[in-house]
């Protein structure tokens, strides 16, 4: 029996494409339409053998299968007894689970943090400094004629970003550049073919044309063209840079300098140097002309800004540049959020506690001081005495010292897969995969909420993050009230 489900939201990256069509046969996804490689990989591989089928508990140094009841009781006991537990992860689960997460953190007086802390946390700090002129992605589709990707590579990390939201989409006021790109690809393929024929001496080799010496970072003639333009600024020539109209290779760690130079030029200041961050000033002037003369421009930025030297100051100056540009034309800026619901994690945490990440409930009210209340710092100071990790794998990407302290204390992990953190855990819960086996809500990188669908049944007996967390919370309350009674 085969059924088709359409308008499925893809639970992989921050693009949250919601036009995926799935064909399901006998409770298994057999066909994925419209999805990118990452999307297909998720929908085809959710049932892989690494999946954990029952809760596990560490007994005598070994993880052994136990029932949900036993594991939930143990987890609740750990959390209720902890003085300063951390609750981390959240970006790859739905808002419904995140809501329970905040309540649980509050109940046990823990530190609630999500993966933004090692991702776009610096962007949030900048927003708190200077604000952010932004828009939803459709606005860019309809209006943007200048798209700049800075320190990010959507072609690899958000594969459908260009085709759904930016350069290659058909908007109301601006058309798609897809055809031009295809022509470019064809021309380059033709050139290669010709070269190959020449090499094999089928075609006679013409005398070598005199090639003008190409200077690095020289803007192309087409920078002044009508229609959408795509500019990529990065330290290396990424896949996205290959399709761009103009690629600027900025010297490693000099994004801040380059951005400041552009700001100065936008404000009509003269620069008394020849080049900035490896880009000649005369080329920068052409770039600034393109920026100032567009109808609607946008900068997308990624880890290249937030986690290179300067961190949140890079984003700070990027946003300030957008503020300046808005005096001349219309400009917006958006972070390229990675996990499909990291935006949701920030959103839920903010509406319930007032703060987007690194929220400390240990005093009974929300407190926020990234650097102090952020999870990595808590771990490095060796202050936490238990941890709950939901839908994340800090063991494989936190600093080693932090991981050492994480595993030195009781560690509870809720994850569909046996990741590195789960292998080190003391109580490990398997969970249904959100967006495939569990319906919910996620927020796209531009804060547009989208429903996630349940398309297949989870493996028998497997609960969702939301259910597991709710039951832990319930159990924690039972334990605490018992303790109150005993004390009385």
């Amino acid at each position: 029996m085969s059924t088709t489900v359409n308008a499925v939201t893809c639970p992989v990256c921050g693009c949250l494409c919601d036009d995926i069509e799935l064909t399901i046969e006998n409770g298994v996804v057999v066909k994925v339409k419209n999805g990118c490689a990452m999307c297909e990989s998720k929908f085809f591989n959710y049932k892989n053998e690494h999946r954990n089928k029952t809760p596990l508990m560490r007994k005598e140094g070994k993880l052994v299968p136990v029932s949900y009841d036993e594991a939930i009781h143990k987890a609740a006991e750990i959390l209720a007894n902890a003085n300063y537990p951390i609750l981390y992860g959240w970006s790859s689960t739905d808002c419904e689970a995140q809501r329970v997460g905040v309540e649980l953190a509050e109940e046990i007086g823990g530190v609630l943090d999500n993966t933004a802390v090692v991702c776009h946390g610096p962007s949030i700090l900048s927003v708190q400094e200077v604000g952010i002129p932004t828009c939803t992605l459709g606005q860019i589709r309809h209006r943007a004629d200048l798209v700049i990707y800075w320190g990010c590579d959507p072609w690899s990390a958000h594969p459908r970003h260009l085709e759904r939201y930016t350069t290659f989409t058909e908007g109301r006021f601006k058309g798609s550049e897809w055809k031009e790109y295809m022509n470019k690809v064809k021309a380059s393929a033709g050139k290669k073919k010709l070269l190959s024929l020449e090499r094999r001496e089928i075609v006679k080799r013409k005398p070598e044309p005199i090639i003008e010496k190409v200077t690095v970072n020289k803007p192309p003639e087409t920078l002044g063209k009508a229609g959408r333009k795509l500019i990529v600024i990065d330290v290396r020539k990424t896949m996205t840079a290959e399709v761009a109209d103009y690629f600027i290779q900025v010297e490693q760690g000099k994004d801040y300098e380059l951005m400041l130079a552009i700001r100065a030029l936008v404000k009509d200041h003269e620069l008394d140097v020849d080049q900035v961050a490896g880009v000649p000033v005369e080329y920068l002037e052409e770039l600034v002309d393109a920026m100032v003369n567009c109808d609607f421009g946008v900068i997308f930025f990624g880890m290249g800004l937030t986690h290179s030297a300067g961190k949140f100051r890079n984003v700070d100056v990027a946003i300030s540049l957008i503020r300046d540009l808005n005096r001349r034309t219309k400009f917006a800026i958006l972070p390229m959020r990675g996990h499909f619901n990291v935006t949701g994690a920030n959103t839920v945490s903010t509406w319930q506690s007032g703060y987007p990440y690194a929220v400390d409930f240990s005093l009974g009210y929300p407190r926020y001081n990234p650097g102090e209340t952020s999870v990595v710092d808590v771990l490095l100071r060796k202050e936490s005495d238990a941890a709950l990790i939901v839908a994340s794998d800090p063991a494989s990407n936190f600093p080693r010292k932090a991981v050492e302290h994480l595993v030195a204390n009781p560690l509870i992990v809720i994850d569909p897969h046996m990741n590195a953190t789960a292998l080190l855990g003391d109580v490990v819960f398997p969970a249904a995969i959100v967006g495939i086996e569990k319906a919910g809500t996620a927020y796209r990188m531009d804060h547009v909420p989208l429903p996630l669908k349940k398309v297949v049944e989870p493996p028998e007996g497997i609960l969702s993050d939301e259910e597991i967390l709710s039951r832990i919370l319930e159990e924690v309350r039972v334990i605490k009230s018992q303790r109150m009674q005993e004390a009385a």
Partner: protein, 563 residues
């Protein structure tokens, strides 16, 4: 559960009850004729003031822009925190409190129903998720429809009936309550960084003017028989000389008013009543605006009072927030939403010693005092734009006491003092008037039949304040009144006592009220519609609607439309 509130001084303006000593009986969440004398729980309200639960017609408490405001202002939260208790969740204030704190604080002031006035339809799910986490209150939202491409296109074509069908569809789809119009035409123009400056400017890329949008939607509103009128944030809001635009707007809407009933609600009127040519010569236009409203019956409005404090301005009026940004240079959020609307946020500190801010403070009070009929103007701060809602008791103080407002005026900027009309205004509102401007009038304007009054059958949403109208001269003892309205002696929500002596005693969830507008012929959802959807938005048709999953307690109101 039965409840009997005995011997209170009841102020119920919808029923014309003005401070009479009465008993109010409650059963199963409704007001009833009488209850069993022994079984009923009794509240002794002797010497206390009893009013219907407060209704707020315009306060930004949930949704995308409110939450972005929260996110960008940790400095606003750090000075104001709420501890977790066994009954309540923790949270933070100040100007943009977290959701739970919002619910508790309103409830402590005796409020029971709120209207969240700007919901971008694309992000409606977000608004509803937050409303679910806003306890103690019944809530509803107004979707932003004034610059929605569908509306612009059908009005441009002159196809009112089709426009009405789409508006009905949108209200049902987003679980909304009324048509919100913000800077009509201006938000679409802002898509390319422009704005409109009179109600007859053409909107770029569309052959339509703000006048046509407002009148068109006012007519649509009538065709659909919606309980509230269109809810308008005027063009040129917040700019000197804009009272002329406001007058133009109200005059333009005269053509829609045929039966003497209101056809539009001009919201936060203070921000639309500036006279003068620039910031230097800015003065009050309240007199002209009030004169017009006194002479006409088709407009209701709310104050948009400014409070001298540090607050956060947020509105769908992106170009206005940009103007504020240029003035202040403060951190600035702009947030445009495809096909529908825009938005902006700027922190703002209203200062007594700033002539413009002080004049704004004065304008709102002038309007409230000069518009003679309290049923036409309601008490708001446009929370958090003019100041946080927690300042409502202060405003009540200024309205009931000339002494209170003169005391504040004396501390204001000299220039503002000289220009203020307040010294000439002798009027002092009574508790009866306060009951109108804080609940009865708002409920009536919203068409909320079960709220804002205490007749048999109404929702048992009741506020009891520690003011004795017989022994207290409220104009002199305004500080007593202020304290009383800040900490309700009792707040009763759906027949349950939720607040006692200003403290939460029970956590309850409120309902989400929305309209199910039934048109004779419905919007056709076919492949053509889905294709158009894909073209206009970046989401699929199937994923757009707010499903029942997003409403914790759904309270739909079925409306029969004329189309």
């Amino acid at each position: 559960m039965e409840l009997l509130i005995k011997n209170g001084f009841v102020f119920d303006p919808i029923n014309g009850i003005n401070g009479e000593k009465m008993d109010i009986a409650v059963k199963n969440g409704k007001i009833v004729e009488s209850v069993h004398d022994r079984r009923a729980k009794k509240i002794d309200a002797t010497g206390l003031t009893v009013m219907p639960g407060g209704v707020d017609i315009h306060c930004h408490i949930a949704g995308a822009e409110v939450n972005t405001g929260r996110l960008m202002r940790p400095e606003d939260h750090i000075k104001d925190t709420e501890r977790k208790t066994t009954l309540t969740r923790s949270g933070v204030g100040y100007s943009i409190p977290s959701t739970f704190t919002t619910g508790y604080r309103y409830s402590r002031m005796g409020y029971t129903s709120l209207m969240n006035p700007s919901m971008p339809p694309l992000e409606a799910k977000h608004t509803h998720e937050e409303l679910n986490d806003t306890p103690m209150l019944d809530k509803a939202s107004y979707p932003l429809l004034g610059d929605w491409w569908f509306v612009l296109e059908y009005l441009q074509k002159g196809d009112l009936a089709e426009c009405a069908r789409y508006v009905a569809w949108m209200i049902g789809t987003t679980k909304g309550y009324a048509i919100k119009i913000v800077n009509p035409g201006g938000l679409e123009s802002w898509g390319f960084g422009r704005n409109v400056h009179t109600i007859d400017d053409k909107v770029p890329n569309f052959d339509i003017t703000p006048r046509e949008i407002m009148c068109g939607l006012a007519k649509v509103n009538k065709m659909l028989n919606l309980p509230h009128t269109i809810h308008v944030h005027t063009n040129n809001l917040g700019l000197p000389g804009n009272y002329a635009t406001t007058l133009d707007t109200m005059r333009a809407l005269e053509s829609v008013a045929t039966d003497g009933k209101p056809v539009a609600h001009i919201t936060h009127l203070q921000f639309s009543s500036f006279a003068g040519d620039d910031w230097g010569s800015m003065r009050s236009g309240a007199e002209e605006v009030a004169k017009y409203i006194n002479a006409h019956s088709h407009i209701t409005c709310d104050m948009g009072q400014v409070i001298f404090t540090d607050t956060t301005t947020m509105t769908a009026d992106g170009p206005f927030e940009y103007t504020l940004y240029q003035l202040s240079g403060h951190k600035w959020v702009n947030s445009d939403v495809e096909t529908e609307t825009s938005g902006g946020i700027i922190p703002f500190h209203y200062k007594r010693n700033n002539a413009v801010n002080a004049t704004q403070w004065s304008i709102a009070l002038e309007l409230a005092l000069m518009i003679e009929d309290p049923w036409k103007i309601y008490l708001t701060t446009d929370h958090p734009n003019g100041g946080p809602f927690t300042a409502y008791p202060k405003i009540i103080g200024w309205l009931i006491s000339r002494k209170a407002r003169m005391a504040t005026l004396k501390k204001c900027h000299k220039k503002a003092q000289k220009k203020s009309l307040l010294p000439t205004l002798k009027r002092e509102l009574s508790l009866y008037d306060i009951a109108i401007v804080t609940r009865a009038g708002q409920a009536k304007a919203l068409g909320l039949k079960n709220k804002g009054h205490l007749s048999v059958g109404a929702d048992a949403d009741i506020a009891i304040y520690n003011v004795n109208p017989e022994t207290t001269d409220i104009a002199r003892k305004y500080k007593t009144v202020r304290r009383a309205f800040g900490n309700a002696a009792y707040t009763i929500k759906d027949g349950k006592v939720v607040v006692k002596d200003g403290e939460i005693v029970q956590h309850v969830d409120g309902r989400t009220i929305w309209l199910d507008v039934q048109t004779a012929e419905q919007v056709k959802v076919d492949e053509e519609m889905k294709r158009r959807f894909r073209e206009y938005w970046t989401v699929e048709y199937e994923n757009y609607p707010v499903t029942d999953h997003y409403l914790k307690i759904s309270d739909p109101r079925t409306i029969k439309a004329d189309v």
